[in-house]
């Protein structure tokens, strides 16, 4: 789950997508690649938890909650400490988290990417064979300008783009029901057309979703799948599964090349 722009809701989307996938009967892991400001521990109500060593295999054991296996720099550092590293050390740390986490069998690993197009996304793309990217953006032009760069980077790195998510697409006042397009509209739809990728979902801006991030109780855990706040994430999860399945079928239909 990626976006070149910060603050568009990648981590909130990642955790809710992961939980929705898990509730749709998949074994799911979540890997937090934000080395500077890892949010996944807070979003999973796991602040203060530290990853334990898997002594036998010389690896790190993922931390568990909500039926997910999770790994984050936040489980390997003291709370409140910042990772003040230049790129090469950051990349080495990221590589360790990728290669040395002792995941149990997983159907899907959701990787929550940090913003930007520098060392970390390059490291992930080089170390992991990615089945696809879900690109998150708000409709705002400043966000779209950066998101487009992120998608250009994905194309350059040959990472398939499964589609886009328009986050914070609109806000509904809890008192009067007035709907506001806080960040404008149309930007994500246009970008989908320009890159010929599907729009996987539109997720509204709601204070309860924000508060659930702060409380570490994602809406996909506390609410039913057909609840108005949870449903967009369950629909997104199904859309991601459908796109992964479609891409796999396309690969299988390709010509078989044999050498005699």
């Amino acid at each position: 789950v990626t976006s070149c722009k910060g603050g568009v809701g990648k981590s909130t989307t990642s955790i809710n997508l992961a939980i929705a996938l898990q509730r749709l009967k998949n074994q799911v892991g979540i890997l937090d690649m934000d080395m500077y400001g890892p949010s996944i521990p807070r979003l999973m109500n796991l602040v203060g938890h530290r990853a334990q060593a898997d002594q036998a295999n010389k690896k790190i054991l993922p931390v568990r909650n909500y039926g997910l296996q999770a790994m984050s720099m936040g489980f390997c550092m003291e709370e409140g400490k910042s990772a003040i590293f230049r790129g090469p050390i950051l990349s080495a740390g990221a590589t360790q988290l990728i290669q040395e986490t002792s995941w149990e069998e997983l159907d899907i690993l959701v990787i929550d990417m940090p913003p930007g197009t520098g060392d970390l996304p390059l490291t992930v793309a080089q170390r992991v064979s990615l089945d696809g990217a879900v690109v998150v953006s708000t409709p705002q032009q400043v966000a779209i300008a950066d998101t487009v760069k992120g998608m250009d980077m994905l194309r350059t790195l040959n990472v398939p783009i499964l589609g886009m998510v328009e986050n914070m697409s609109h806000w509904i006042c809890s008192k009067c029901g007035n709907e506001e397009k806080l960040f404008g509209e149309g930007g994500v739809d246009t970008t989908c057309k320009d890159f010929n990728v599907p729009l996987l979902g539109r997720i509204p801006f709601h204070p309860d979703v924000l508060m659930s991030s702060d409380d570490g109780t994602p809406v996909t855990i506390t609410r039913d799948p057909d609840d108005p706040l949870a449903k967009p994430y369950f629909d997104l999860a199904q859309a991601v599964l459908d796109e992964l399945s479609r891409k796999k079928q396309e690969e299988n239909l390709g010509p078989r090349i044999t050498m005699d």
Binding site: F85, P115, L122, Q141, K149, D152
Partner: protein
């Protein structure tokens, strides 16, 4: 000339992305210019430069001094007759293709940021406002390195009320303290909403 004749350097930081650093950096710079001060706006976010979009300067290029080959920051429009000089520099003002990703590892970003400070003719400025990307990596360490001898440096931290953002600001404050920088204060952005 670099930043020799800059009186105050204010760096805008936030551990978290999307809290409004660039918006506040631009608005702060423009307000100071409209009040009559000479202001420079420097965008060191190489991967996602937002300043030119916010200032309405997309497509505006920058020039180089013929004799010294120093970069000349681009002029920013101000409104008041008594406004000071306002100039800006960002990688988005240099590259032609605004949609192409700049996929650089740390050393290249570091080299360009040093050029933005030292190989640019900023002239005489009362304030240089530096807008940074989220995090505490190459860009921030480089800014720290370049500004270590500049006594008037200070930083302004931006956050939203959300705990996820405050968590990152706490980390950023740890970074600022370790660096020996002066924290001028914290801005709570997007602190409330008035329904239309």
């Amino acid at each position: 000339m670099g930043i020799e004749k800059v009186k105050h350097v204010v760096t805008i930081l936030s551990g978290k992305g999307g809290v409004g650093k660039s918006t506040i950096a631009c608005q702060l710079g423009l307000c100071l210019a409209e009040m009559g001060h000479n202001v420079g706006l420097l965008d060191v976010d190489i991967c996602g430069p937002s300043m030119p979009i916010i200032l309405g300067m997309q497509g505006q290029g920058i020039m180089r001094d013929k004799d010294t080959n120093m970069m000349l920051p681009a002029a920013v429009k101000t409104v008041n007759k008594g406004a000071g000089r306002c100039v800006a520099l960002s990688i988005a003002l240099i590259v032609e293709d605004q949609t192409a990703a700049i996929v650089w590892r740390g050393p290249r970003k570091t080299a360009l940021i040093k050029q933005f400070f030292n190989d640019t003719d900023w002239g005489e400025l009362d304030f240089l406002i530096v807008d940074t990307p989220p995090g505490t990596s190459d860009e921030h360490i480089t800014v720290l390195d370049v500004l270590k001898d500049v006594k008037q440096s200070g930083i302004v931290l931006i956050t939203t009320p959300q705990q996820v953002s405050v968590d990152d600001v706490r980390k950023e404050l740890t970074f600022v303290k370790k660096a020996g920088w002066k924290c001028l204060g914290v801005v709570e952005n997007m602190s409330g909403f008035v329904c239309g």
